[in-house]
């Protein structure tokens, strides 16, 4: 998730000429496990980088959905993976359930590119960054040799939103 956030922020800031911050958090010290990525995109200077009520929430697993689902601000957007069973959401929120993990498996045979799929979906739903910027940011950020795979995942993510 951290990489996904970085790519989104990079797309916005570096390729779309906006301002962006990316902020992450983990569990106790820095081991694997749950992580969270917060991105703010703005035309103005961004001072306060923490988000209590996001405009857009992407939850890739049940835990995240449970923990943050109700935080989305009114008229915000909430995208949950279709593997999540129950999703706490408010009426005032635009809700999407998309098979992002499944798509990642289809593209790469593992969960690895889920965050890139999610990025595509997020951009398609919100339009917050341009497709082109996102493509450039993905190509520049992923490990060498995996560019094509990831760009494909990104496309499929866009495709999830009709």
């Amino acid at each position: 998730m951290v990489l996904g956030g970085i790519i989104l922020a990079t797309a916005a800031a570096v390729y779309d000429g906006l301002n962006a911050t990316h902020n992450q958090s983990y569990g106790p010290e820095a081991r694997g496990g749950a992580s969270r990525s917060e991105v703010i995109i703005s035309r103005g200077v961004i001072h306060y980088p923490e988000i209590e009520h996001p405009d857009v929430l992407v939850a890739l697993n049940q835990e995240a959905a449970d923990k943050f689902g109700l935080n989305v601000r009114d008229n915000g957007i909430f995208i949950a993976d279709s593997r999540c069973k129950s999703v706490p959401s408010k009426n005032s929120v635009r809700f999407y359930r998309l098979p992002m993990v499944d798509t990642a498996y289809e593209v790469a045979g593992s969960e690895l590119v889920t965050n890139i799929v999610a990025l595509g979906a997020l951009a398609a739903v919100t339009g917050v960054v341009s497709r082109e910027a996102l493509q450039k940011a993905v190509a520049a950020s992923v490990p060498r040799g995996t560019e094509d795979l990831n760009l494909k995942a990104l496309d499929r993510g866009f495709g999830l939103v009709k």
């Binding site: 569990g27 106790p28 010290e29 820095a30 081991r31 694997g32 496990g33």
Partner: protein, 275 residues
């Protein structure tokens, strides 16, 4: 059947926070079963840890437990044991905690022959902080602070502690869990400083970066590379290259510190001028 570990766990702390396939749980199981095997009451056992994934051991077991600062568990334990010689004191530490920042306390505890059992979980990496190399990371292995491969030679922890004067020294692995349990039981029974190195797997911090993709692969590595002390006796240096010796290296009896000190107290108090 085996003593089930449940009885010794703080159930509300389960499932524990370790990653899937982490060897810490296996070592913890061996410790708990060893204590059970010895018939110790839970009230008489104190388990002290430092900081690291290994240190999370004691939050989940229902003994008397405290976690201390990084590397210092043995020093806290020394004070505790001197204050309460009747308690059984076990320290669980990691290769970073016990050998990097805590190396000095380890060798001094060994020298003093104070009755503390130390279990060093050797996962050859700093797990908790995300995979930096440790004094037990094999040369050439990758770690986040060794992006070109680890350049430094490693300790042989058992030889080090032996050189420091320890009276009980042994090594087991997570794979050889039955042996490990036996070694830990003997270490706890030993009167004096006892050291058990438990070779263990950190799939997240070490395995991923070093082409061992699953916990099972790492345990298979343990299986394939371990040679018992007995078997090693008949092997050549060449044959032993890259192997890890397991079993008991030292087991001898010398005066134990808190006993010696107890005698001093009795003498000092019986002298005129004592209270």
């Amino acid at each position: 059947m085996a003593v089930h570990v449940d009885r010794y766990l703080r159930l509300h702390k389960m499932p524990h926070i370790w990653c899937p396939g982490c060897g810490n749980g296996i070592v913890l199981g061996a410790l708990v079963r060893a204590v059970a095997e010895l018939g110790c009451s839970r009230d008489e056992v104190v388990v002290i840890t430092g900081i690291g994934c290994s240190a999370r051991t004691n939050a989940i077991i229902d003994f008397n437990t405290f976690q201390t600062t990084h590397g210092r568990a043995l020093s806290f334990a020394t004070g505790f044991k001197l204050a309460r010689p009747e308690m059984k004191v076990v320290v669980v530490t990691g290769d970073g905690d016990g050998l990097a920042i805590g190396g000095n306390h380890l060798i001094h505890s060994a020298r003093r022959n104070i009755d503390i059992t130390t279990i060093l979980i050797n996962n050859s990496i700093y797990g908790m902080t995300g995979g930096q190399h440790s004094p037990l990371t094999p040369a050439g292995s990758y770690a986040t602070t060794a992006p070109y491969g680890t350049l430094e030679p490693v300790f042989d922890a058992c030889r080090l502690v032996e050189g420091a004067g320890a009276t009980y020294v042994a090594r087991g692995t997570a794979y050889h869990v039955v042996l490990l349990q036996r070694l830990i039981a003997r270490a706890i029974s030993h009167k004096g400083f006892a050291f058990v190195e438990a070779v263990s797997q950190c799939p997240v911090g070490f395995g991923r970066r070093n082409k061992m993709r699953t916990p099972s692969e790492m345990m298979r590595w343990q299986k394939d590379h371990a040679v018992t002390v007995k078997a090693a006796a008949g092997m050549s240096r060449e044959q032993l290259r890259g192997k890890i010796l397991i079993g008991e290296f030292v087991n001898r009896n010398l005066p134990e510190l808190t006993e010696v000190y107890g005698r001093l107290i009795r003498e000092a108090q019986s002298r005129p001028g004592g209270e």
